[in-house]
């Protein structure tokens, strides 16, 4: 396990925590927690192999959250002094007092063991913040040049985003955690322009964002050479592909696309705060309401979904959440039936669920922790088929690869997705790409049409850095795994016809 960055450990978190928690106790808070974070970010982007952006960011600060006479109070600041920690504790109590008249639910938290002073670091080999910028830019320029050298590629856009997230947490019960996570995303996109026809198309890498270090870009976990070599041909095929005929099709969906459908239609729909209405005015609620727990038929009996904050290299993976809860893995859908939600300590207590399953997360030192998504993944079928076997079982259908556009409604019923590539399947074989394709369905119909999940050999962990929720808005990174999966009779739209052409 790599060590926690000594520069973070040198920050005065312990004296500040002690001062803030003691002041909150003196002022009558029945619970208080202190969180000091440092989030480092590094963004590089290249346009046609020339550097467009070099941005190195660091966000340091701390927050005090209290429960005072049954009401939340929260305050945060950036000056790391004991006086400021005391002031922020006082402001958190002041916020609780001004909010008390509009609070009618007494805040209580689910019990959690006290862990003492513990440390956790994510699994990575090379910290991207220790790699010289010049090396990163040279590698992105090389990747870009490979694309630009190919026939039919007019533009190449490249980006690399790296994060190092350090969290220190202490609460009045006595838990004290110090943690470090690394995550990284590299992306290349090729664009073809036919100026005479006024047409353009793009093709983007399917390499996922990962809870890994710089070794992901230079090593063999992802075959960058093969993907970059194939992209120009895929793009050329897409430029001249036939427009799809709208109608019902059988789909084999690759996990590079299905992860996002899982995120939107299962991940968000099984967040208990949404089901209870706490996101109702913004992100929305959920069709999977609490009264349907253990009865809702979410999908076919082949559908099994797990929530997990311990998945190796997962973006939502961590040792302890932002309420001092040790992270876990649990079933969300078993044999097609809804059996679990994602929770935090307040909701777990309110609904009598026992311990929280550890989904509290704040995206910055200045934001309040909320229930955020675990790595929610569809499980492969043990001894299940390969992708080629799934395609072989389709008479006329589409093989869907790579995520692209996405949209779903506020109760997570109606969704519509596009992809990087839609390959037509005829008599069990791929016969070229189709264009202007979107697949659209209602969540339970879609998962109900799942006929066969592929085997473990088809499993892939996708994910995103930019999952948005809450007001003020917070972003979270999360991974979703899936096997290649066969769905029968899904509604396909022609997007040109949708646009009135």
């Amino acid at each position: 396990m790599p060590d926690i960055d000594p520069a973070f450990l040198a920050l005065p978190m312990r004296p500040l925590a002690e001062a803030a928690l003691s002041r909150a106790r003196e002022l009558g808070a029945e619970h208080a927690d202190f969180r000091l974070e440092r989030i480092r970010s590094h963004d590089l982007s290249l346009r046609d192999a020339k550097l467009e952006r070099s941005h190195d960011g660091e966000d340091v600060g701390f927050a005090v959250r209290v429960v005072h006479e049954g009401t939340w109070g929260f305050a945060s600041a950036v000056d790391l002094t004991v006086d400021e920690a005391v002031r922020v504790a006082e402001r958190a109590v002041a916020v609780a007092k001004i909010s008390a008249p509009v609070n009618s639910e007494r805040i209580e938290l689910a019990e959690e063991p006290v862990y003492g002073d513990v440390t956790w670091v994510s699994a990575y080999e090379v910290n991207p913040f220790e790699v010289p910028d010049a090396d990163k830019i040279a590698l992105l320029a090389d990747f870009s040049e490979r694309l630009l050298a190919a026939d039919g590629v007019d533009h190449a856009d490249a980006s690399l985003r790296s994060y190092c997230e350090n969290k220190f947490y202490a609460d009045t019960a006595g838990t004290m955690t110090t943690q470090q996570r690394i995550r990284l995303q590299a992306q290349l996109e090729a664009t073809a322009v036919d100026a005479a026809q006024g047409q353009f198309e793009t093709m983007r890498t399917c390499a996922p964002p990962v809870g890994r270090g710089w070794e992901f870009v230079t090593g063999k976990t992802w075959d960058w050479d093969a993907e970059l070599a194939q992209m120009p041909e895929w793009l050329a095929q897409k430029m001249k592909a036939q427009s799809v005929k709208a109608g019902r099709y059988d789909l084999v969906i690759d996990p590079t696309n299905l992860w996002l459908t899982i995120h939107e239609s299962i991940g968000h729909a099984t967040e208990l705060d949404r089901a209870l209405g706490y996101e109702a005015a913004y992100a929305g609620t959920s069709f999977a309401t609490f009264d349907k727990l253990n009865t809702l038929r979410y999908g076919s009996p082949q559908l099994n979904v797990v929530g997990d904050r311990t998945t190796p290299y997962g973006l939502a993976t961590i040792g302890y959440d932002d309420e001092g809860v040790q992270t876990q893995s649990w079933d969300i859908v078993r044999d097609g039936t809804l059996v679990g939600y994602q929770t935090d300590r307040r909701m777990a207590r309110m609904k009598g669920l026992g311990r929280s399953n550890g989904c509290a997360f704040a995206d910055s030192p200045g934001h309040i922790p909320l229930q955020r998504m675990a790595n929610v993944s569809v499980q492969p079928a043990p001894d299940g088929p390969s992708t080629a076997d799934l395609i072989a079982g389709v008479e006329h259908g589409i093989y869907v690869v790579g995520d692209n556009s996405w949209s779903i409604d506020m109760q997570r019923y109606n969704f519509q997705f596009t992809a990087q590539r839609f390959f037509e399947i005829r008599a069990g074989k791929l016969v070229g790409q189709l264009r202007d394709v979107a697949y659209q369905a209602t969540t339970t119909d879609f998962w109900g049409s799942l006929e066969q999940a592929g085997g473990p050999q088809t499993f892939h962990l996708g994910g995103a850095f930019n999952c948005g929720k809450a007001q003020p808005g917070q972003v979270a990174a999360v991974s979703h795994g899936a096997p290649a999966t066969l769905f029968r009779g899904i509604n396909i739209l022609n997007t040109r016809e949708e646009g009135g052409e």
Partner: protein, 467 residues
């Protein structure tokens, strides 16, 4: 900590330490307060204070000028030199920038120069003293009438200090506030929404907003299922704001010139000068628009085709993106403008739409509609096809059937597939502009003034069971 010295002093010290060929330093002081509620009770709240210091170094090389940004919260004065040197090293690693230009020079009466010496403006949780009392009363009224309230109130004040090695010393205070209020029936089967942008919350009346939502919630008591299809549709100002903001954010000159957007012309070049609609609408931005005032100069730490680091400090100007229905301007950095022999056009943090013959409120448009749909707002809007700017998204919190000038029934929600550019040619009627909050994009874009629009053949593609 920089807290011990004023932001102006931090900027001066960082500039004095710079050994680069050019340097821009931007210090931002931010305070915010918020309340969030659901089911007629508070859920979260907060008072936050933060600070950012960005050092942007420009380094000349044999083949051009490079730039890089280092941005930090809470910088100790003793660490300033380390930060400045790191920014210089990052610029040396970066290689020449495509958008390199000489840094902006101070001009006579340069916007933002006069207030340099003033301390940072601030907000606090006390801005909600009156509002929180009203909200408690609204919870009482709603509870008594079997109505649940959800929502969010936020007030943010950001003071930005920009200094450059060319002698710019500019400062801007930006207050940004909003209220979003959502009312539901206890079974969540009926749902309605309203939103409002505000500078200081003095103009926010949550009891009036609640009364309006109570009326709309009653409209929802009669409900009819309606099939997908192309409908004449009345878009309220909030929905127009979301769609027009998509147009604005995609109006990037370089991308259009390179053939990569809806504003690229068949045969090459951009569609500048092309008529997009026979309706004489104007879509414009103006940093001094009344009630929607935005920064009078460029300040950016995030390089992008529409925001060049080298343009920091450049005065922003009133600009018409669409004039009388004709595409008239695209966002152009000074560098791209120079390379394409055009006028630079800076991003302004507001957007206004109007038509010389636009008149009447949403209610007036309803009264003049024979048969059509009236929307509340749009949600989860995403680009499906950038070539046509085809967007998909949902109607949310109330769709109503209008017959013979009156709302006759609520109907189900739809997923739409529409291009806001294509839609401009199908505008049947334009209302009077009013300040509005774009529901989908208000986290990022708060200051808009839009009319309601009546549009023919709006593509309601599929039915959504969501409410």
């Amino acid at each position: 900590m920089t807290g011990s010295i004023p932001p102006q002093e931090t900027v001066e010290r960082a500039l004095a330490l710079s050994k680069a060929d050019g340097c821009v330093v931007i210090a931002t002081e931010r305070t915010e307060a918020n309340l969030r509620w659901a089911n007629n009770t508070l859920t979260t709240n907060g008072e936050m204070r933060s600070r950012q210091l960005a050092v942007i170094s420009m380094v000349n090389g044999a083949t051009g000028t490079a730039a890089a940004v280092l941005e930090r919260s809470a910088v100790d004065p003793d660490d300033l030199e380390t930060l400045v040197r790191a920014a210089e090293q990052a610029a040396r690693d970066a290689g020449p920038a495509d958008d390199a230009m000489p840094l902006v020079e101070p001009g006579t009466d340069h916007p933002g120069a006069a207030a340099w010496g003033e301390p940072a403006a601030e907000t606090s949780i006390e801005i909600f003293d009156r509002f929180a009392g009203q909200l408690g009363e609204a919870f009482g009224r709603a509870g008594a009438a079997d109505r649940l309230l959800f929502g969010f109130a936020e007030h943010v004040v950001e003071s930005t200090y920009l200094g450059s090695s060319t002698g710019l010393r500019l400062r801007h205070d930006q207050p940004t506030g909003r209220l979003e209020l959502n009312a539901k029936s206890p079974d969540f089967a009926r749902s309605v929404w309203s939103g409002q942008g505000s500078h200081d919350f003095s103009d926010v009346d949550v009891l009036a907003a609640d009364a309006d939502l109570a009326t709309r919630l009653r409209w929802e008591e009669r409900r009819t299922d309606l099939a997908p299809g192309r409908y004449e549709t009345i878009l309220p100002p909030t929905a127009v704001a979301d769609l027009m903001t998509y147009i604005y954010w995609s109006a990037i000159g370089r991308d259009a010139d390179e053939g990569r957007t809806v504003f690229s012309k068949k045969g090459g070049g951009s569609r500048l000068g092309e008529r997009l609609t026979e309706v004489p609408i104007t879509l414009r931005s103006d940093p001094s628009a009344a009630g929607l005032a935005a920064a009078p100069f460029v300040h950016t730490t995030w390089a992008h085709p529409a925001f060049s680091l080298f343009d920091n400090g450049q005065p922003t100007q009133p600009v018409e993106w669409i004039s009388g229905g004709v595409l008239n301007n695209l966002l152009k950095s000074r560098a791209w403008a120079t390379q394409t022999d055009a006028r630079p056009t800076m991003f302004v943090d507001n957007l206004l739409m109007e038509s010389p013959d636009g008149a009447g409120s949403l209610e007036d448009l309803v009264a003049r509609t024979e048969r059509g749909l009236l929307l509340t707002c749009l949600w989860y809007i995403r680009t499906v096809d950038p070539q046509t700017m085809l967007l998909t998204g949902l109607t949310r919190d109330g769709v109503y059937l209008v017959e013979n000038g009156e709302v006759t029934t609520a109907v189900n929600n739809f997923r739409f597939n529409e291009s806001p550019v294509g839609m401009l040619s199908r505008i049947a009627e334009v209302g009077a502009p009013e300040r509005t909050l774009p529901r989908e994009l208000s986290d990022y874009f708060n200051r808009t003034s839009m009319p309601a629009l009546r549009v023919s053949d709006f593509n309601m593609s599929t039915v959504s069971k969501g409410v």
